[in-house]
Subunit: 144 residues, 2 copies
């Protein structure tokens, strides 16, 4: 999101760029997002649950093994959450880009497993931390 894109238009909603703090606050206000990563050299997206813990995005998902496959200890991912009304085209979207690492510490793992409910329990062990290096976001509003 460049500053230029914050310039609103006459025909659609106004795009207002969010600060990093505001973006992380909005991200923490919802529990569902989508992680974007590279799988076999192709872009991939999966919806997952998240929480924001002291500025770090933590996700838990059955696709964790696909996210950090081929014995990678870490990789860069994009994480997006939004709350956009498809009818009015108002709301917000936040994208965090950063290094994803599987949580392996027993105590930390147990804590996140308590806090995050996976959608399917079958392969629910994977908890992944995303360090937000780049945080972008915007609000779509009908008022200037």
């Amino acid at each position: 999101m460049s500053a230029d894109e914050a310039v609103s238009s006459g025909t659609g909603a106004h795009l207002v760029v969010l600060s990093r703090g505001e973006a992380l606050r909005l991200l923490a206000s919802v529990s569902l997002g989508r992680v974007g990563f590279t799988q076999q050299a192709l872009p991939a997206i999966r919806p997952v649950n998240h929480l924001v813990d002291r500025g770090v995005v933590v996700i838990r998902t059955h696709s964790g093994s696909a996210l950090l496959n081929h014995s990678l200890r870490s990789e860069v991912v994009a994480y997006e959450a939004d709350d956009i009304d498809p009818a009015t085209h108002t709301g917000w979207s936040v994208v965090v880009t950063g290094v994803a690492t599987r949580v392996t510490g027993a105590e930390e793992l147990a804590r996140y497993q308590r806090l995050l409910t996976p959608w399917s329990g079958a392969a629910a062990g994977d908890v992944v931390r995303i360090e937000p290096e780049l945080v972008t976001g915007y609000r779509l509003t009908t008022t200037p």
Copy 2:
């Protein structure tokens, strides 16, 4: 989504793999999704509007220029849409992977511009077609 992931668990929702037809039908039932692509060698995600036109996913977005930048005529992207209840963890998610190409034909462009409303009008000219080569999807349900 491998067949193994369709095996349900005792603790979470049941994951049922969708057929290609059912997945595209569900995708067509909503207007908001997220496109995943590679930008400067990093994974990126943007929420956009879409429609499904004769089996092809068509999106219109102010981020179209980021999606097909550096004079690329086409590139592989992932497109995801879902309708998941964060409280009950039921709903569905569909991911289409395929080659994205900018629509340039005047007649086709005008037709899609009528059908798809961009969120911000400033740079609303970009319409991108995604040919669904790989279509995956699942339903999360509390009943077997």
